[in-house]
Symmetry: C2
């Protein structure tokens, strides 16, 4: 695997790695410079300050994060298939980047009134038309009457939380890393059927 060539990319890579694992308050400028294999001053020569560098990293991470949740909505599948595919993609993404949800939520909490907003990604979300699609599916009776907020919460919770609470759950059940990796694969199928059974119940009595 080829690593970054330019100095600027080296810094970004190092910063992303360190920020993701320790958070903004949990690391130092010198730690990032060391990870990038260079002087502290050079980091600031390219990015002016720790905070400026952080903002750039945060934006790219946030963008990837939101994109992973949204690209499914642009497909031509049925709503039920979309939900199923969304869960698959989320687990795939979070297996590669398990620290991202914790990182995003922590930094949003640290920087409440500041520039860590998500307006553009939010607009893209609305433009996919998935809201209208869900409303129609509920009207026709295909889908259970669940508001979009709770729908979002259910999917996010059951996808993200297993990766966020990994340490606690492993300790709680005395599991090794490998065991937990396998558990996650099993768990994905469980929550998928739980969610789909709930959202798209089989008609029982009438019709």
């Amino acid at each position: 695997m080829f690593k970054a060539s330019t100095t600027e990319e080296k810094i970004k890579e190092a910063a992303k790695s360190v920020f993701l694992s320790k958070g903004f308050s949990g690391c130092t400028s010198r730690e990032i410079a060391k990870e990038a294999g260079m002087n502290v001053a050079l980091v600031n020569y390219y990015f002016r300050s720790k905070n400026q560098l952080f903002l750039i990293i945060y934006q790219t991470v946030m963008h990837d994060f939101m994109l992973s949740m949204m690209e499914v909505f642009s497909t031509e599948l049925s709503l039920k298939e979309k939900v199923s595919l969304l869960i698959d993609r989320e687990y795939e993404f979070l297996t590669k980047h398990p620290e991202i949800p914790t990182f995003v939520l922590n930094e949003m909490a640290r920087n409440k009134d500041a520039e860590l907003q998500i307006h553009e990604t939010l607009n893209n979300f609305a433009q996919t038309g998935v809201f209208v699609e869900a409303a129609n599916a509920q009207m026709s009776g295909e889908m259970r009457q669940v508001d979009m907020v709770s729908l979002t919460m259910i999917i996010m919770a059951n996808c993200q939380h297993p990766f966020m609470a990994r340490l606690l759950t492993q300790q709680l059940h005395g599991m090794t890393d490998a065991q937990y990796d396998m558990q996650i694969i099993k768990h994905k199928e469980i929550i998928k059927s739980m969610i789909l059974n709930y959202l798209f119940p089989k008609k029982s009595t009438n019709e």
Copy 2:
């Protein structure tokens, strides 16, 4: 409401409040002292160091957190009723202490190989006999065949995540604090029926 009387309790209260909202790396000793209305030296006079004080706070918080998840298991209810009551209690607890899950998971990640373990609480968990109870319920066909790890994960995810991802979800859907508070009340009932429907499905064809 009466506040703490002794100096030691004042420090503990202040430390708990600051640690919970900002985490260990996100706050300073002087900030805790200020919150307690006193000098920095006095905090160290009672607790020797920032880390020592933190460990005491972490233990009490962790204890409360685990207790909130476990006390339901000691009741004499059926397994289905236990799950239902557990969700109620979790939402009740997390409404009062919404920062605790994030705090616990963050500090576990920061202090991986260190003294933030949970062995005693873990033993109590096994002693409630809920594992045996679940195994029996699965054998008799009363409960779906879901391993205890996934069962734990499902409940934790759907209870804790709405409180952990509050800021993100509010921004995503443009909700006020009051709106989100109401959403949580609605959401609790939704995930309760989703989880119970899944774990204890109504027999359809045979019998």
